[in-house]
């Protein structure tokens, strides 16, 4: 091997690890940002106390400690977990659908979740019910897409994609219907704001479920990262290489759907992360899912964290998250597609 290619590999490995570790410093820095600014050193101290000293009965929490751990940490954790989920499921879906223009939305999970949330908001139910309903209808939409696609025989993946888009549109129309009948002074704004996405209402109690689903999903995606390479060659070749593409793909879709439904039920409809981040990651570390999957997770976390920080600090009143991801994500994607020479053809 030539010295040049060895150096290139060392640079690539360095970039890979830098990207994987990036979420940590970004998190510590952004926790400090806000109406009440805290220097990164104090944030680190508060986080250290949270992990270690707080178990000591003599520990006296100060205002920084309370602000960091009670107010900002849940929100920052939610932003990172949701960003990770949306990005890694986007990367996985692009691999299994062999299509760089899809994300985990393609089977209707987000539209279903949006309808579920709108339904509960219309009934003035509490946030817990809104989340549960969003989660449930997200899963229901994908299940529906699967069952309906079984009625057709030709080109299963193509039919599934088509039916997924149709089911998504169907739930979108149902949501519009709910908005139409909603009270314009009360429930309509609530539904509209929820559909725009945002982490304003995130509290500590939202984190455990989100954390469990996201972490298990991440472990699963990590384990199938090599198989995603093989699946992206197409079913015939995956079979010839000894895989059962139908079964693995189904598993990946189920796990992705759980992750996405969970993310949407907490954060509302947040678009573009699942499309932009895998492309950005592919530009930086190449298409090999062994690196693409972990890097998509890390970059998704960083991206949504930065977007959420912007949405809560730039102006006095918060800008909805789902609006910002599009405003930042679309130009970013355009730049990536221009720069990218080796991502996809």
């Amino acid at each position: 091997m030539s010295r040049g290619s060895r150096r290139k590999q060392a640079v690539q490995r360095g970039l890979y690890w830098a990207l994987l570790l990036l979420p940590l410093p970004v998190a510590v820095y952004t926790i400090g940002l806000g109406r009440y600014e805290i220097p990164p050193g104090d944030v680190a101290q508060a986080l250290y106390d949270y992990a270690v000293s707080s178990h000591d009965p003599a520990f006296e929490p100060d205002i920084e400690y309370n602000l960091v751990t009670r107010i900002r940490l849940p929100r920052i954790a939610a932003a990172m977990l949701i960003g990770t989920s949306l990005a890694v499921t986007g990367a996985a879906f692009q691999g299994i659908f062999r299509n760089p223009l899809v994300d985990s939305n393609i089977l209707g999970v987000t539209s279903g979740a949006g309808f579920g949330a709108a339904l509960m908001l219309l009934l003035n139910a509490g946030m817990v019910y809104v989340q549960m309903s969003a989660f449930f209808f997200g899963l229901l939409a994908v299940m529906l897409a699967f069952l309906v696609s079984r009625l057709y025989y030709s080109a299963p993946m193509l039919v599934l994609t088509l039916v997924g888009i149709l089911v998504g549109s169907f739930f979108g129309s149902l949501t519009s219907l709910l908005k139409y009948v909603a009270d314009p002074l009360d429930t309509l704004p609530a539904i509209t704001y929820w559909l725009l996405g945002g982490l304003t209402g995130v509290t500590r109690s939202d984190i455990p479920a989100l954390l469990v689903v996201t972490l298990s999903g991440m472990v699963f995606m990590w384990m199938v990262r090599w198989r995603l390479n093989v699946l992206s060659l197409g079913d015939g070749e995956a079979q010839a290489l000894g895989l059962n593409p139908t079964r693995i793909r189904l598993l990946i879709i189920v796990v992705s759907t759980f992750m996405t439904a969970m993310a949407v039920s907490v954060g509302g409809v947040i678009g573009w992360v699942g499309l932009v981040i895998p492309h950005a990651a592919r530009t930086l570390v190449g298409p090999d899912h062994q690196r693409l999957i972990p890097v998509s997770m890390a970059m998704g976390a960083v991206f949504l964290l930065l977007i959420d920080t912007m949405s809560r600090t730039l102006w006095a009143s918060e800008v909805p998250l789902g609006v910002f991801t599009g405003i930042v994500g679309v130009p970013l994607l355009l730049v990536i597609l221009r720069v990218n020479k080796t991502g996809w053809q």
């Binding site: 290489l241 000894g242 190449g286």
Partner: protein, 274 residues
């Protein structure tokens, strides 16, 4: 005679009543190069998929070393029988090395990733087909011949006993056609048996140990190249007049189609008129 792969009375139809394979039986000896010839749509690709165990026959069965290939677990089967597909363009721009490395998948366990040994095997396979220098290039940037050789290298990295090649020389220039087939010939010396579907009877003439000619889902002739590659058999199976040109010692050297009303001296006459 030892047999690695054996097909017994295979039948297959994509649509009921329109069989693409009818009563196809064949056997592949160790280290043999078997050529499958026949017109478009005669069932060659379907036959290869059934031989490779990735498509279940509707009638008959395929035996690998005596056991039904559909009963062998998928990853075990893929360690013994490999398929090299027709040239394709993947959606993502994997490097040449990554594509070859995918041939190691059957050995990786449920959630494994390739280790150092797998990388070494992949690199060795690339050297064997002469693509070592292109290792880190995106596969999608390669020429058709280089892509085909990459896929052959992937088949080698799979370290199977049998490799099934689906039209490996289609779209290739003469130089690349030759380098693919020379690589095949070299490898068959070692341990690998090949079944190759092709539209080029001349390749069969040069490289085959055994030739099978198909027509509308049936085997119409099978045997050694000198027995099968005759004007009669080829003319019947391709539905067109074919001429076999022999050397002075009666060895077949080339197979060419006959043109309507063509005479050997015709071009000469034209030349004189000009």
């Amino acid at each position: 005679m030892a047999v690695v792969l054996q097909a017994e009375a295979l039948g297959y139809a994509y649509q009921p009543g329109q069989p693409v394979l009818r009563d196809v039986s064949l056997s592949v000896a160790p280290n043999a190069i078997v050529f499958l010839l026949g017109h478009n749509g005669c069932g060659k690709t379907t036959l290869l998929e059934i031989l490779g165990g990735i498509r279940a026959p509707q009638a008959g069965r395929v035996l690998f070393n005596g056991s039904d290939i559909r009963r062998i677990p998928a990853h075990k089967r893929a360690q013994r029988v490999g398929m090299v597909p027709q040239m394709h363009s993947p959606v993502f721009a994997y490097t040449v090395r990554q594509v070859v490395l995918m041939g190691r998948t059957p050995y990786l366990g449920l959630f494994g990733t390739p280790g150092r040994q797998d990388y070494d095997i992949a690199d060795e396979a690339l050297e064997q087909v002469g693509l070592g220098a292109l290792r880190d290039r995106p596969y999608t940037d390669l020429s058709g011949g280089e892509r085909q050789l990459t896929l052959v290298a992937r088949g080698l990295a799979q370290q199977t006993d049998v490799l099934l090649l689906d039209e490996p020389t289609a779209h290739l220039d003469p130089h690349n056609q030759r380098s693919v087939l020379e690589t095949v010939a070299e490898l068959s010396e070692n341990r690998v048996s090949f079944v190759i579907s092709s539209h080029n009877p001349n390749s069969a003439l040069l490289y085959a140990h055994h030739v099978i000619v198909m027509k509308t889902g049936r085997i119409v002739a099978a045997g050694s190249p000198s027995d099968v590659l005759t004007e009669d058999t080829l003319s019947t199976s391709y539905d067109m007049p074919v001429e076999v040109i022999y050397s002075e010692d009666r060895i077949a050297r080339a197979i060419v189609p006959r043109r309507n009303g063509w005479r050997a001296d015709k071009t000469a006459v034209k030349q004189e008129q000009v």
